[in-house]
């Protein structure tokens, strides 16, 4: 909802043109509405003002008529009328009434005494007095009667007003007509007149005057006693304008008088404000003002009680200054805010509706494309929705399922195992509300087997949700077919915990089981058998990995079968390439031995694979819990140590861990540690053991033997560190050092008596396998200017036979470059005679073990002879090692052995000692004191 609101608001605030236009229109509408409201208020004020004005006019008229009546009363009340006194009296009134133009006195004169009257007036000083109509008013006509109403006095008497002197008011037709009627009633007459000579409008108010007080007279008598009139000339326009302006101020735009009862309605313009906008304002301001002025008010009021047919039409424009700009703007902004709120609400509504539609569409799509079967029911389990996946899963179409009971369907599809708690739980969903509430607190994932329409068993996982919709509840079931998932999970689990090749446990499972055993409350003693196959690498290298794999499968099966026979709890793990570990409840020492021997035996049995007859053995290290360790790592390490011990014991055997083995291993690690520093510290040195030509007794060369004198460890034998150096690949550096030292020595011997001696150097299999080794030695020899024949490469029989096909080529290279090539320890390994004949060997060296029994041990004699015969047949010379007695020497000489070396001839000597020894035996060993003494001793024995 919050996101939806944000979406809507963000959508809203993305301004769009229609929004701006709408906002502007709303702003303007409310502004105009407020203006209209203010206009109406102003109109009401205007109406009140017109009423006030009307009252004001009527009051003014009343005041004026009162004044007129008072004057008339004053005049008529005088016994001796004095026009002059009246004039003086009236003169004082005029200044107090600014709109009274003048006050006058007119007398009725008939034709008979007209002349006399005129003369009288002249005598009074009005020398030009003459009764006549000067047509001072547009309303003046010709008086054809014998009566005149002559103005005799006018106040103030100024030249401007003097024009009225002598004017015959009976020339005003209306006045004349009404005069006598009004005289009879002593009533005021009122006449609107237009002055002809200046266009001004005046109102003539007249009141009759009588010779005696009219109040004492009846109408007839008043008619008899009528003397004339007192009249007022009223400047009506200034009055109307000023009073209107007082009320309306600048708002007043026009005043008109209309005579409504005239046959033709007569309009008189009284006032019109000069139109046109201010010159100071801008064009638009002026236009705006003109526009506002169109908003004007119009009222019509009565201004005279005597002439109600005369009405004043007032036009007033709306005063801009009265506009409350703040309110207008406030209304505009309020409108804008309302607009924004409405837009926001609409946007929210439509946004929400759109969102719901989208949601509905999505849900529909989700239901349609869901990988889960989605079934929605009411609280009774009547199906309301059934998606395609449900059709697919159960085989029932939507049309046939809508309205059906889902519990009944489940009962129908179950394997009639209604006692199944999971199924019971599922049915409870459709039971009652309390049941459902009870389920609310439980896990909502149910897993059970059902049958589909085709009666196929499927494992399904059901999750459900209960949704309250208004007063009812809807139950949604999400059903997933997990048949294949469970199978895959089992496979994955198997892959994760079992070796795919041998189907044995892998390290992970083994470790878990191992720890499980250890973590038991009272763990039983058990044994670990660490099995490493002997010769598996060779099989792999020679016959390929596929054969190797098949071999491992066979071995695994044999191990399993063998262990099974022990009837003890066990775990078998393929630990590495050709390593297996067996954890077995301690069978006891005897049974353990039997079991181990049976294992060795079973493993060693020939295996036929793809036409190959293979035979591998195993070295087994044994460690027992808790005797040899309390944890897996210790036990494994100790079993591994024991396995190495078995390897050292010659393989195809087993060895039980002993603490000394650890010590030995520690010693080995110590040697390895110091070995790395030995070269840098120049701790190695070479000794040379002479090789003698048995036929001549002359020394033909020496075998270089390495020695290590460690400052910390003391003297270390080669058999103690060579293997370690090979395993750690330090042998390559050591071998280089040996070669360099020998070449240096050969170079030293050039041009000496020892220049023809060759030096045989032992080359480790690791060093030999290192590419470029021979080329490097050759390069060094060339640099030293030495012939290659002075250096003999000694390889062990195992090295030579390690990779015979490849080695043939390399041996040829060695030989072609001139180096000698000898095989050390010949007879200890298993040389293939077929390969031996292919190898371009120059020398075979009979191992000391075969020499030791000579000349008494028949086997050794046979072997020695066989080797000699073989070598000679292949044109290979033979060196007998370890010749320690004269008997051995003589036997070998007799057996046509080519060369011999051994302590009998000389122990290995340092360079200086060797050179002394060589000098001493420069002719022949047989001439040496040693040989001669030995021969003498032999002779004596014989």
């Amino acid at each position: 909802m919050v996101n939806n609101f944000r979406e809507v608001t963000s959508e809203l605030f993305k301004l769009k043109p229609w929004m701006l236009v709408g906002g502007l229109l709303c702003f303007l509408f409310f502004m105009l509405w407020q203006l209209y409201y203010q206009f109406q208020q102003a109109e009401q004020v205007f109406v009140k003002q017109t009423q006030t004005l009307e009252k004001s006019f009527l009051l003014e008229e009343q005041r004026t008529t009162t004044l007129l009546k008072a004057l008339a009363h004053y005049y008529s009340g005088q016994i001796i009328k004095s026009d002059k006194d009246f004039s003086l009296f009236a003169q004082s009134l005029v200044p107090n009434h600014p709109f009274i133009d003048s006050i006058g006195l007119a007398k009725i004169v008939n034709n008979e005494n007209k002349s006399r009257f005129e003369q009288y007036q002249k005598k009074l000083g009005f020398k030009s007095f003459e009764i006549r109509s000067k047509r001072l008013f547009h309303e003046s006509t010709v008086n054809l009667t014998d009566d005149y109403l002559a103005i005799t006095r006018i106040t103030p008497l100024s030249p401007k007003h003097s024009i009225y002197i002598g004017e015959d008011l009976f020339s005003l037709n209306t006045l004349h007509k009404e005069f006598f009627a009004l005289s009879r009633e002593n009533q005021i007459g009122l006449y609107w007149l237009n002055q002809s000579y200046n266009g001004k409008r005046v109102v003539l108010l007249n009141h009759p005057i009588y010779r005696i007080n009219p109040n004492d007279l009846n109408a007839e008598q008043r008619q008899q006693e009528i003397q004339g009139i007192i009249f007022l000339l009223f400047n009506i326009d200034p009055l109307l304008i000023q009073k209107s302006k007082n009320v309306f101020g600048d708002q007043l735009s026009r005043l008109e008088m209309v005579l409504e009862r005239n046959p033709v309605r007569n309009y008189w313009n009284v006032y019109q404000q000069k139109n046109g906008a201010s010159k100071n304002g801008s064009y638009f301001e002026n236009k705006f003002q003109q526009l506002i002025k169109l908003l004007s008010f119009k009222g019509k009021i009565q201004i005279s009680q005597f002439r109600p047919e005369i009405r004043l039409v007032i036009n007033a424009h709306w005063n801009l200054k009265s506009i409350e700009t703040g309110s207008v703007l406030l209304a505009g902004f309020s409108g804008l805010m309302i607009y924004l709120v409405i837009i926001l609400l609409f946007s929210m509504f439509f946004g929400h509706a759109r969102s719901l539609m989208k949601m509905q569409s999505r849900l529909k799509e989700i239901l349609h494309t869901s990988h889960d079967a989605v079934i929605i029911t009411n609280s009774k389990g009547i199906i309301q929705s059934w998606n395609p996946r449900a059709e697919e899963l159960f085989g029932f179409q939507r049309e046939e399922m809508i309205g059906q009971s889902l519990p009944e369907l489940f009962m129908h599809l179950s394997e009639d195992n209604l006692a199944d708690p999971v199924e019971q739980k599922l049915l409870m969903l459709f039971d009652s509300k309390p049941s459902r509430e009870h389920l609310e607190n439980q896990a909502k994932l149910l897993e059970l087997y059902l049958l589909n329409r085709d009666k196929q068993r499927i494992l399904i996982e059901i999750s459900y949700s209960i949704l309250s919709v208004e007063d009812s509840e809807e139950i949604s079931l999400f059903i997933q077919d997990i048949t294949y998932q469970r199978q895959a999970e089992t496979e994955i689990k198997h892959l994760a915990y079992y070796d795919s090749l041998t189907k044995l446990e892998n390290r992970v499972l083994f470790k878990r089981n191992f720890e499980k055993s250890l973590n038991k409350p009272n763990p039983q003693p058990f044994s670990l058998f660490f099995i490493d196959l002997d010769g598996f690498k060779e099989v792999n290298d020679t016959l390929g990995h596929s054969i190797g794999d098949e071999l491992l499968k066979v071995i695994a099966k044999r191990i399993t079968n063998t262990i099974k026979g022990a009837h003890r709890p066990y775990n078998i793990c393929r630990f590495g390439g050709d390593e297996f570990i067996i954890m077995i409840e301690s069978p006891g020492e005897k049974l353990s031995r039997i079991l181990l021997e049976r294992l060795l035996q079973k493993i060693k049995r020939t295996i036929r694979l793809d036409g190959n007859e293979l035979e591998v053995s195993a070295s087994i290290g044994v460690a027992t819990y808790p005797e040899h360790g309390q944890d897996m790592d210790t036990l494994l390490r100790h079993a591994d140590t024991a396995m190495y011990e078995a390897k050292k014991l010659g393989k195809n055997t087993f060895s039980t861990y002993q603490n000394e083995m650890t010590e030995h291993l520690s010693q080995r690690l110590l040697i390895e540690k110091h070995l790395r520093q030995a070269l840098k510290n120049n701790e190695f040195f070479l000794v040379y053991q002479p090789q003698m030509d048995l036929a001549s007794g002359r020394v033909i060369g020496v075998e270089a033997l390495i020695r290590w004198q460690s400052p910390e460890l003391g003297f270390i034998r080669p058999d103690q560190f060579i293997a370690i150096a090979e395993e750690s690949k330090l042998i390559i550096e050591i071998g280089d050092w040996v070669a360099d030292t020998c070449i240096h020595q050969l170079k030293e011997w050039i041009n000496t008596d020892f220049a023809n001696l060759h030096i045989a150097i032992n080359v480790s299999s690791v060093q030999f396998a290192f590419p470029g080794f021979i080329d490097s030695v050759r390069h060094k020899m060339d640099l030293a200017g030495l012939p290659a024949g002075l250096l003999e490469i000694e390889l062990t029989e195992r090295t030579v036979m390690d990779n015979p096909d490849e080695n043939v080529q390399r041996f040829n290279d060695i030989r072609h470059q001139g180096f000698g090539l000898s095989v050390d320890d010949f007879g200890t390994g298993y040389s293939s005679l077929s390969y031996l004949k292919l190898f371009p060997l120059s020398i075979l060296k009979i191992d000391k073990s075969f020499v030791d029994g000579l000349p008494t041990d028949e086997n050794d004699i046979s072997i020695a002879n066989a080797i000699l015969n073989l070598a000679h047949s292949l044109n290979i010379k033979v060196v007998a090692e370890g010749v320690e007695t004269i008997e051995q020497l003589l036997f070998l000489k007799h057996a046509k052995c080519n060369y011999a070396q051994g302590y009998f001839i000389s122990k290995p000597l340092k360079t200086e000692e060797l050179e002394i020894w060589l000098k001493e035996h420069s002719d022949s060993f047989y001439q040496s004191e040693l040989f001669l003494n030995a021969q003498a001793g032999l002779d004596n024995t014989l």
Partner: protein, 355 residues
Amino acid sequence: MPRPLIERYLYSLLFALTGLFCSTSLAAEPAEPDVKKLPTCAYIASYAPGYDWQDKLEKALKDNLQPRCHLKTFYMDSKRLKNESALNKVGDEAKAFIDSVNPTLVIASDDNAVFYVLKRHYRNSKLPFVFCGINYIGGDYGLPYRNTTGMIESSAFDQLFHILFSNLPSKSHIGFLTTTGTTANKNVAEFHESVRSQNLISSAYRAHNQEDWRKLFKTMQQDPKVDFIILDNNAAFPEWDKNFNLEWVKQYTQKLTASTHEWMMPYTAIGLTKSPAEQGEWSAKASIEILQGVPIHYLAVVPNQENILWKNKLLLQNIKESLPQELLEQARTYPFKSDENAPSRFLETSMEKSW
């Protein structure tokens, strides 16, 4: 074209442009009020400046008219002229003056201007005339003409007699002391007209000089038949010894004396005077109406309206039978100037009854 000729043309063009610029610049300046556009009014004064009546009348005339009219004045100074021919001559000069200024209208103040200029030269002519200061009763000018209007001096005698006799009803005889000359003649005629209209008993005396005037004054004060004495204008005596006469009047005043001329108030106990300013103002306003287009025959000839009741406290204290105090309280006290109360030499003069 030769080079000098080209230069000449160029210079001519430059001057022409400069001249054009100057003329347009001048034309663009705001025009000052053009007195020539005002209509010209000719004012023909019967008297000359220095005469109180004339000065006040002329001042009121100018104050009201001059903003609307360019007024050109001709003073006839007729009091200086002793014979008819001189007056006719100055009347001709005035006409010549009027012809020379060619006025829209003419204002003529007092009798000599009306008689020797208007009546003689412009009666019923097309040139409008506004007259004032005319003692109508005393004159025979045939006014009004078709081209005239104006204000006449109404007789104050009626009102004055009314005041005197209504407040002192036991009195019946009224004396009138005047001088010589046109105005005096008209005043006498007016006096007699009023006396006749009110059916009063009267005696009129004409003094030919100031000594004569003093004698007559003394005689009238001492004549038991005369109840009141009206003193007319003394303008006919240019040699008037003001201080001496004041002392004289003060010494011999025992009856109620009155005048219709303001400047005679130092010599009388009460006065009911006409206003020269009213005459001048009316003339000005009537002229304005005419200038505004009101036909001259629309404008009525009217009598003056303003009369002022004065009292001279100095002389009133000498009079036994005076007016009621209530009436005198309504009268204005004459404001004596500093030299009017100064003692002067008493002159004994003879009095002569004129007729």
